[in-house]
Symmetry: D3
Subunit: 239 residues, 6 copies
Amino acid sequence: MTRPSGRLADQLRPVSLETNFSRHAEGSCLVKFGDTHVLCTASVDEKVPPFLRGKGQGWVTAEYGMLPRSTHTRTDREAAKGKQSGRTQEIQRLIGRSLRAVTDLKAMGEVQIKVDCDVIQADGGTRTASITGAYVALHLAFQHLVRVGSISTIPLIDQVAAISCGIYNGVPVLDLDYPEDSNAGADANFVLTGRGGIVEIQGTAEDKPFEESEFMALMALARKGIGELTALQRQALGQ
Amino acid sequence: MTRPSGRLADQLRPVSLETNFSRHAEGSCLVKFGDTHVLCTASVDEKVPPFLRGKGQGWVTAEYGMLPRSTHTRTDREAAKGKQSGRTQEIQRLIGRSLRAVTDLKAMGEVQIKVDCDVIQADGGTRTASITGAYVALHLAFQHLVRVGSISTIPLIDQVAAISCGIYNGVPVLDLDYPEDSNAGADANFVLTGRGGIVEIQGTAEDKPFEESEFMALMALARKGIGELTALQRQALGQ
Amino acid sequence: MTRPSGRLADQLRPVSLETNFSRHAEGSCLVKFGDTHVLCTASVDEKVPPFLRGKGQGWVTAEYGMLPRSTHTRTDREAAKGKQSGRTQEIQRLIGRSLRAVTDLKAMGEVQIKVDCDVIQADGGTRTASITGAYVALHLAFQHLVRVGSISTIPLIDQVAAISCGIYNGVPVLDLDYPEDSNAGADANFVLTGRGGIVEIQGTAEDKPFEESEFMALMALARKGIGELTALQRQALGQ
Amino acid sequence: MTRPSGRLADQLRPVSLETNFSRHAEGSCLVKFGDTHVLCTASVDEKVPPFLRGKGQGWVTAEYGMLPRSTHTRTDREAAKGKQSGRTQEIQRLIGRSLRAVTDLKAMGEVQIKVDCDVIQADGGTRTASITGAYVALHLAFQHLVRVGSISTIPLIDQVAAISCGIYNGVPVLDLDYPEDSNAGADANFVLTGRGGIVEIQGTAEDKPFEESEFMALMALARKGIGELTALQRQALGQ
Amino acid sequence: MTRPSGRLADQLRPVSLETNFSRHAEGSCLVKFGDTHVLCTASVDEKVPPFLRGKGQGWVTAEYGMLPRSTHTRTDREAAKGKQSGRTQEIQRLIGRSLRAVTDLKAMGEVQIKVDCDVIQADGGTRTASITGAYVALHLAFQHLVRVGSISTIPLIDQVAAISCGIYNGVPVLDLDYPEDSNAGADANFVLTGRGGIVEIQGTAEDKPFEESEFMALMALARKGIGELTALQRQALGQ
Amino acid sequence: MTRPSGRLADQLRPVSLETNFSRHAEGSCLVKFGDTHVLCTASVDEKVPPFLRGKGQGWVTAEYGMLPRSTHTRTDREAAKGKQSGRTQEIQRLIGRSLRAVTDLKAMGEVQIKVDCDVIQADGGTRTASITGAYVALHLAFQHLVRVGSISTIPLIDQVAAISCGIYNGVPVLDLDYPEDSNAGADANFVLTGRGGIVEIQGTAEDKPFEESEFMALMALARKGIGELTALQRQALGQ
């Protein structure tokens, strides 16, 4: 089997995490998984959502969007259509849950951080790139809050990153790009912490149901890939 | 550990599948997982969605809704709010994918079947009950199409059913009800076929990340539960 | 003249009022007028609408919906379309006015009761069945408020019920079912109290204008039918 | 009893019907019931609604709106809020049904006439003024279609007009203005044809239920008032 | 060159400003520029927008709408479509800015005045007629506030009026009507104060780019026209 | 007077036009006016809008958006709010008109080009940067159509670019950045062609009305700036 990109089965695309890409945001990161480019910005908001007011804890939430021509053919602009698709909502809920899983909401104080993940260019794996970059942006926003004295330590209890794996031409492979993703027999997204804990698993049979052994092979690939991604996160954050 | 309901860790709630509940639908099933009651109706539509017109194949899709007071406290009506929540969209996309995974879309002819899953009463596990009942409603709608001569055989290549599992008080348990679901440390939904193939897996750490061994224990429970559910489906369909 | 159902001109369909159908709602009633089935749930909300805050009185309101396949052919889901139809709004405003006409809003305290009427199966007369069942659900919710000590007596000053009548094949008949309703020359809905007071009358010529004498015949039929419905309400409430 | 306006119980407000008020519309009428002013325009549209295409018949429909400051205090603009209220939809459906009740839809050919009723100033009775003026605008639009040769005769089988009546200070009165309407114990709108046939009746108890005898008194007043309105319509149309 | 209306190149259409047209509004003016008729009403609202609460200053804002058949062919009702067009929003933002440019927001106290400009009949130039009439309505609303003692002097620092000019058949002309507007090579709207200050200029090449000299000719025409309009405003206000 | 950036009154910010920034779009350009960065992509769509079908001509349209944290403080996402603001619509209409003013719609064939201008980072002047970059993206998309043989020559009859000017601290300055824009006494956007023709002028007094002489000074600055911008466009396009 040869992957369209010529990568090995367990090889990530070239990954980069460019910090402080945005001049205005408290934290930001332009994450690239090959030709998939996502701008992640973390904005501090003094107001928590209504259900948390006065509870002495904070909140982290995420929003996701794609530029209309980030995709191979132009996708209609959600703002013009007047609503976000089910896919968009699914992804932004996933990003938010993933970030909250490694945040000590009590320790962050009564503020909200909104992380926007906007896809500048898409080539498969936008949700996993988003989570990986969003963690970096969130970390930088917390650094900012420490720097300005709002909190004394960064309220993150672990790292979090994500990667997709799939069965392509019958073989389990790591980090699907678009040509693979649109032909994969099965596709799974893994969100894991720096210490290897499972935050989210989403596996979907695209064509026909898959076997448990196949699923376990995907999880093993994901562990390898996420090990590399969390190392890159630490490097980007100068740790 | 004692479950609030007194059930064993690997014990389903009482499950019933009442077929032909609705007078008008081509196929229908009132599914009950304990106090969770979902009415599933399958409606035959002569028109396929635009992207499939003239392609000589059919489509199966699903919609999901909750009656405002199916829940412990009243939930605002989505029709009144003017949009479906992200959760609703996530669930109805999952139901649709699950049904299509066992349907031979080419063999069903150029028609569309829309399966509506409406929660009459909720006590946890509405999405898994929906999938389990939706399969029965879909099967009945195909029986109807065979009976009226539109197709010659039922274009289903396998059964599909779903169940949730979770870590409750540190112990893996099968078929979470609401009191368990709202306190579970982790929660996973499994959609499997009658032959045991994996269609969808969605695992979420609610509180803190979970271990791979825990995840495997949940999958084993799911296999047991889905074996029982698919037997009940066959029984309800008189097979 | 023979009615499609074989009923006499002044004969109601079999009517049942099943109380406490819903596990969660403070009051609930599954009302059946023949094959028309409506689930009515009354939910107590501690917050009154903004225009009544601090005025020392309560409010009763209603919402109405139809399951997509409650009808002969599937109706698009209002939540998916993003708005409620004019018909839906007309009906839910009517139900709310009817209930408020027999409620002592001052005596109920500063709470709001929202009555949801959801049509599980439709065969004509869903709005009249809704009003008839909604009264029972509302009464049960007030019983609940008495039981928990919020109020000392049930703040209902009369019963309220509703029925449709119409000119079918030139003959005035009581309680139109769908085959009659879709062929009636005129159609009138009457909302009357237990003591016979008029709360609402809505008469519509479907085909050609009707005469005053015809209208009076419809009102006489309505009085008979509503006498029977209010007796059934008292029986369902154990009075 | 004295009415706020000093009118007799069975006295209409000064009514005027100014035809061809609008330069562009095929038919138009500015109707005034005292200080209630409604501009009715009838527009010919070559396209019938989808459910009638190719059926060889026409359609008449209506839309209703209020200028934001037509009312005593400013009402939010529906276009800015992004939806029409339930009241607006109820009224425009009523106007449409009333006009169709006197139109021979088969004889008008496959065109649609949309009648817009826009309230320039409101002082009670906007829906009844709208129906009364809309009939005139519709008649003029049909005259236009005869003049340009689309049809040979005006496909109206009768006139239609509407009036409200109510119980004010215990006395049945004709043509409620705003000060009466907001204090009436009961309120009924009657839509009758030129020959006295009943098209629509909508009676509502505002405060407490009303008696059949009261209702009959309102209907008698309505007959008198509509006799006068239909005479004014004929005069405005030069008949 | 002959203009379709026979007017001279620098001649306005007949302009009238009818004050107190509306019975309910604190200030109102029916403005006519030939066959373009706009009803402007100014409504006093005790609540300023959220961003100004407690800042000790007021606000003036505007909304704009067209009756569906104010235009040559019927335009769909924005309330029915569920949103205001880009054109509508552009115009109402322009009207609001124009009025605020001559209002002393600090001197008016913490109230908001909403000016509604509703086009009853359109024949080109609706936005400029709206601004011209809106100023008069606003002035009258301030007179009302002085009369009732809310403020001691009218907080207007200048007059404001607007006119369109364009290149029609190669010749610069004043106050385009619809036949001219739909054929103009360039079109510019000028909003000027009574003292000749520039509030807004919006110039658009419809067909091909225009020259600076042409633009200067349009501005000279505008100055002449606005001089006449502001004189008419003073006359209408009895100054 | 010193500008916050230290620029001369008639000095543009550093401007760059990076072509082919996007992998997927037929034409693209990342335009930077100092810290204002806008990604412009031009997408070829085989379908023209309904009003042009079968007319043998093409169409150019534009959409505009801002990433939520492109701004100093986070702006709510329009897709999440469910509608585009008036400002957004105003800007995208302006961009579309500007591009069409230099396009030979007949010569481009029956296709549509949609130009998306998405603000990655904002520091004032986003609409003028958008127009300037959009022209380049459009040109590249036409080059693509020539290359694939759809058309034989590029159907652009001139270049188009835009710049803002304003009165800052009483002095006319070129190319306002955000600190200037938010304090300018007047602000004008000029859209000019390569040959100096005027396509659009939008001048707004922010604080108090401005004089004609001031306006003329702004136009002179604009001519200088646009001369430089169109030179940079030619250079970016390799002309």
